[in-house]
C-alpha cells in the first residue's frame, strides 16, 4: 500500500487535493478503476493510486493495459434524452398523420389538420429544431435591424404543444417503407396512416462552391450561423454573392443596407434576368448606385479557395475576387431520396395531382417547395396555405376541397427598389 493511501486511511490533515480519490475509465470496455476501491482480484489494494499501478496490469474486464485508461470525470446526467417526444413508438401508438419537415409548409399543414380535426394524431419529423419563423425575413432582416432572437416567432416545443403535435426534432427522414406504411428516420421507424412530405428543397450543390467555404442559406439555422460569422453590425465585411436571382438580389440589397460591401456575380448580364424585364433590372441597378453593391454580370465562377483569412474567387474573365464571405444563391433542388424510396412519381420534383395534391401512392401527399405540378415547381410562400387546406380536407371528414393553381404574385423585396413581377 502506498504512503499516500496510509495517510488517507488515518484521516490525517493533508491537502484536500491529495485526499480525493480519482476514477479512470477503460477506453475499450468502459470499466471504471476507482482508486478508492482498487482491484483486489489482481492485487491492487483499495486506495492504490492509478500512477502506482504496474504497467503490465490488465483491465479486469477486457484485458487492455493501463495505458488504455483515461481519467473519468463523473458528469451530472442530463436526463431529458429519451422523453416522450423523441422515443420511437412505432408499434403501440395509433398511427396518425406524419408530416416530414417543420418549415412553413410543415407547420401550416399541421395547423390546417388541427383546425379540422381536434383528435387526429399528428407527428412532425424534422431535421431542425422546429422553430417557427418567417422565411422571407432571411433576406430583409438586417436592414430592418431585426436581431436573431426575435426572428423565432415560437419555439418548436411551444408550437407543438399549442397544436397538439408530437414533434420529433433533430431527426432526419431516411426512407419510406411503403409495404408497412413506415417512415424510417435517424431515431427509429414511425408508422403513418397518411404521410405528408413538406421537406422543401435544398440549395443546389456545385463543386465550385464548396459548402465548407460558401454559405448556402435556405433556413434559419444556416442564416443564424452566417449572421454570427458576420460578427457585430457596423463592421463592414466584403461579401460575394453568387447568383443574382430573387434570393441573391434580396440578400445583396439587405447586406448593403446593413453597411457591408457586396459584389453580386452572375453568368447573366443583368440581375433578375429570368424574372424581371430589362427595364426593371436597370431600375434596380440605378437604385443600387448609392449602395456598396457591385454587379459583376456575364461572369462564371471557376473556383473558391481560402487564402489566409480571405476567400478568393477565380472567374472565367480573369478577375479574382477577394472577400470575407461567399454566399451561394444559385437556386434550389428537391431532394429525391424519400420520393424514390416510396416509388413516387417524379417530374422535376414530387409529382402531385393538380387538384388533390396526392402523389401516385394513395396515402402520401406533398406540398410546398418539394412538389411539382405538371412538371413545374413553384417555390413561394403564398400557395402553401391553400395547399395545406386542400390536403387537410382530404384526410379528414368533410367536403374535400380542390386545389386551383394560380401563378403566385412575386414581390421582389429589394427594398431599395422593390417591385412585383
Amino acid at each position: 500500500m502506498s504512503a499516500t493511501t496510509a495517510v488517507v486511511r488515518r484521516g490525517a490533515p493533508v491537502e484536500p487535493a491529495v485526499l480525493e480519490f480519482r476514477q479512470y475509465i477503460c477506453r475499450a470496455c468502459g470499466l471504471i478503476y476507482d482508486e478508492e476501491k482498487g482491484d483486489p482480484d489482481s492485487g491492487l489494494a483499495p486506495g492504490t493510486r492509478f500512477e502506482d499501478i504496474p504497467d503490465d496490469w490488465e483491465c479486469p474486464l477486457c484485458g487492455v493495459t493501463k495505458s488504455d485508461f483515461e481519467p473519468h470525470a463523473v458528469v451530472a446526467l442530463n436526463r431529458t434524452g429519451g422523453t416522450r417526444d423523441t422515443v420511437n413508438m412505432t408499434r403501440c401508438d395509433a398511427a396518425g398523420v406524419v408530416i416530414v419537415g417543420a418549415g412553413t409548409a410543415g407547420w401550416t399543414m399541421a395547423r390546417a389538420i388541427r383546425e379540422r380535426d381536434a383528435d387526429m394524431p399528428i407527428t412532425l419529423v424534422t431535421g431542425c429544431n422546429g422553430a417557427v419563423y418567417d422565411k422571407p425575413l432571411l433576406s430583409v432582416a438586417m436592414a430592418k435591424a431585426i436581431g436573431l432572437p426575435s426572428m423565432v416567432k415560437e419555439t418548436g416545443n411551444d408550437a407543438a404543444r399549442r397544436l397538439g403535435v408530437r414533434l420529433i426534432p433533430e431527426t432526419f427522414a431516411i426512407s419510406i417503407t411503403r409495404e408497412s406504411n413506415t417512415l424510417r428516420t435517424t431515431r427509429g421507424a414511425i408508422k403513418y396512416k397518411q404521410l405528408i412530405l413538406a421537406h422543401g428543397a435544398t440549395p443546389r450543390t456545385d463543386e465550385r462552391l464548396p459548402r465548407s467555404l460558401c454559405w448556402a442559406i435556405n433556413d434559419l439555422r444556416c442564416y443564424t450561423r452566417f449572421r454570427e460569422a458576420l460578427g457585430k453590425p457596423r463592421q463592414p465585411q466584403h461579401i460575394a454573392i453568387v447568383g443574382a436571382g430573387l434570393v441573391g438580389c434580396e440578400m445583396a440589397n439587405d447586406l448593403a443596407l446593413a453597411g457591408h460591401v457586396v459584389v453580386l456575380v452572375d453568368i447573366a448580364t443583368r440581375p433578375l434576368a429570368s424574372l424581371a424585364t430589362e427595364q426593371e433590372s436597370d431600375a434596380l441597378l440605378s437604385a443600387w448606385a448609392a449602395l456598396p453593391i457591385t454587379f459583376q454580370g456575364g461572369t462564371r465562377i471557376e473556383q473558391v479557395t481560402r487564402q489566409g483569412k480571405k476567400l478568393v474567387i477565380d472567374t472565367d474573365i480573369r478577375i479574382a475576387i477577394n472577400v470575407d464571405h461567399v454566399i451561394s444563391a444559385t437556386g434550389l433542388q428537391t431532394p429525391s431520396r424519400l420520393a424514390e424510396s416510396a416509388g413516387l412519381d417524379w417530374n422535376n420534383g414530387i409529382a402531385v395531382a393538380p387538384d388533390s395534391l396526392a402523389t401516385n401512392v394513395k396515402n402520401i401527399f406533398a406540398l410546398g417547395d418539394c412538389i411539382s405540378i405538371n412538371g413545374q415547381a413553384y417555390r413561394f410562400i403564398e400557395p402553401i396555405a391553400k395547399q395545406a387546406c386542400v390536403i387537410a380536407s382530404r384526410i379528414t371528414d368533410g367536403e374535400p376541397l380542390t386545389y386551383a393553381h394560380t401563378r403566385p404574385v412575386i414581390r421582389v423585396k429589394t427594398t431599395s427598389k422593390a417591385f412585383t413581377v
Binding site: D68, G127, S175, T177, S336
Partner: protein
C-alpha cells in the same frame, strides 16, 4: 445523390452455379450446423468443420473476382441461409467474408495467390478487428493499436478487447495508428497471424450468448508489420472502397436471424394461432417487411457486383432496418411461442440473444443512426 429504386417487382434471377452453391450451403446449415447450434451458442463449441465445409461449398468464393464478376447477392443469400439456423455461425461467415475483402482488395501478392485460394476454400479461416478502427474513424472512440515506424516496416503495440473468428491457426485484419517522429499520425492496415511472434490471445469474459464465435482478446507486443502482411497504408481510401460490401454482408446476418424467428412463429401457428392473433408483429406482417427489405438489399448488392457505388445512406439504412427487424421478429417469436420459447434450450431464446448482437455489433444501430444523421446534415463554413 439518388436512392436505389425500390419498386422492382421481380427478384433478381439466380445463375445455375449460384443456385447449386446455395443448395449446398442450405444442406450444411440445416444438417451439421443445426445439430450443434445450441452447443455453439451456450457451450462455446467453435464450428471449425462447418465453416470449412461452407468454404468448400463455394460460399466464400461468391463475393470474389476469382470467377469474373463478384456475386454479392449470392454471398448475401448464403449468409442468410446460415444465420437462419445459427446466428453465431452467420456472424463468423461474415468475419471470414470481411477478411476476404481485405485480402483481395489489398493488392498485396503475399496475401493473394495460394494463400487467398486456401482462405476462399475455407481451408484456413480468418477474422476482422476493424470494430475499433471503424469507430475511431467516425470519431466515436480512439484507436487502440499504436504503431511506430522502423527501417523495414512498423512495430505495433496495444490490446484489442475482443476479436471474433480466431483460433490458434487463424489470422485477422487489423489497423493501427502510426505515430510519426514529426508528430503526424496516419493509419495502417495489416494482417495478423494468431500464432505470430508478438501476438497473445487472451480469454474473454463470458458473453450472454454466441459463445462459440472464437472471440478473444489480442495483446500486441512489438508486433512486426512489413511487406509480407501490409493490407493498406492509405487506410481511409481503402475503407471507403470496402465499406459498402463490409456493411452489406453483415445485413445478411440480420436478415437470417429475422427469418429464423419468423419461421418459429409459423411453427406454432397451427396450434397457437387462435391466441397468437391477439399479438402485433404477426408472422405474415413481418415476412412482408422482411421480403421488401431483402429485395432492397439485393438491389444494393447487385450494384456492388456491377462495380457501382450505392448511396452510403441506403447501405446504412438497410443495415439499420435489418437490426430493427431482427429485434422485433425475435421478440415477437418469443411471445408467439410462449413458455416453450422461454426454455433455455429453445432456438427462440437463442435468437433473442442473437438479435441483440445484430443490433450492438459494430456498426451498432446507434452508430448507424448517428452516421446517417451526420451525412444528412448540411455542411456549413466553420
Amino acid at each position: 445523390m439518388s436512392a436505389v429504386p425500390l419498386r422492382l417487382s421481380e427478384t433478381i434471377p439466380e445463375s445455375l452455379a449460384s443456385s447449386a452453391m446455395l443448395e449446398r450451403v442450405r444442406a450444411i446449415a440445416q444438417g451439421p450446423l443445426a445439430a450443434i447450434a445450441e452447443a455453439i451458442d451456450r457451450e462455446g463449441t467453435y464450428p471449425a468443420d462447418v465453416l470449412q465445409q461452407l468454404g468448400k461449398a463455394g460460399l466464400y468464393r461468391a463475393q470474389t473476382r476469382l470467377d469474373g464478376t463478384p456475386d454479392f447477392v449470392s454471398a448475401l443469400k448464403g449468409v442468410v441461409e446460415v444465420s437462419k439456423v445459427c446466428g453465431a455461425t452467420g456472424f463468423m461467415v461474415w468475419c471470414q467474408a470481411a477478411c476476404t475483402l481485405y485480402m483481395e482488395r489489398s493488392g498485396n501478392p503475399a496475401l493473394g495467390g495460394d494463400t487467398f485460394l486456401r482462405h476462399v476454400h475455407g481451408d484456413t479461416l480468418g477474422g476482422t478487428a476493424l470494430s475499433n478502427p471503424m469507430k475511431a474513424m467516425t470519431g466515436i472512440e480512439p484507436m487502440l493499436l499504436r504503431a511506430e515506424r522502423v527501417a523495414d516496416g512498423y512495430i505495433v503495440n496495444g490490446t484489442l478487447p475482443w476479436v471474433s473468428n480466431l483460433g490458434a491457426d487463424h489470422y485477422f485484419g487489423a489497423a493501427a495508428t502510426v505515430h510519426e517522429k514529426d508528430g503526424s499520425r496516419r493509419d495502417i492496415m495489416f494482417m495478423v497471424s494468431c500464432r505470430g511472434p508478438g501476438i497473445e490471445l487472451k480469454t474473454c469474459p463470458s458473453f450472454a450468448g454466441m459463445e462459440g464465435t472464437g472471440t478473444w482478446g489480442v495483446r500486441f507486443t512489438q508486433f512486426k508489420v512489413d511487406a509480407s502482411n501490409l493490407i493498406a497504408d492509405r487506410v481511409p481510401e481503402f475503407l471507403n472502397e470496402i465499406r459498402p460490401a463490409f456493411i452489406l454482408l453483415q445485413v445478411g446476418f440480420g436478415l437470417g436471424v429475422a427469418q429464423g424467428a419468423i419461421d418459429s412463429m409459423w411453427a406454432v401457428e397451427g396450434q397457437l394461432g387462435h391466441v397468437n392473433q391477439f399479438l402485433h408483429d404477426r408472422p405474415a406482417e413481418l415476412q412482408a417487411e422482411l421480403d421488401a427489405l431483402t429485395l432492397r438489399t439485393h438491389q444494393i448488392a447487385r450494384m456492388l457486383s456491377e462495380g457501382k457505388s450505392p448511396s452510403p445512406l441506403d447501405v446504412l439504412d438497410v443495415r439499420a432496418h435489418a437490426s430493427e427487424l431482427a429485434l422485433r421478429a425475435a421478440q415477437s417469436a418469443l411471445l408467439h411461442q410462449g413458455a416453450r420459447g422461454y426454455l433455455l434450450s429453445s432456438s427462440v431464446q437463442r435468437r433473442v440473444r442473437e438479435s441483440h448482437f445484430v443490433a450492438i455489433v459494430t456498426p451498432a444501430l446507434k452508430h448507424l443512426r448517428r452516421e446517417m444523421a451526420k451525412q444528412s446534415t448540411q455542411e456549413m463554413p466553420a
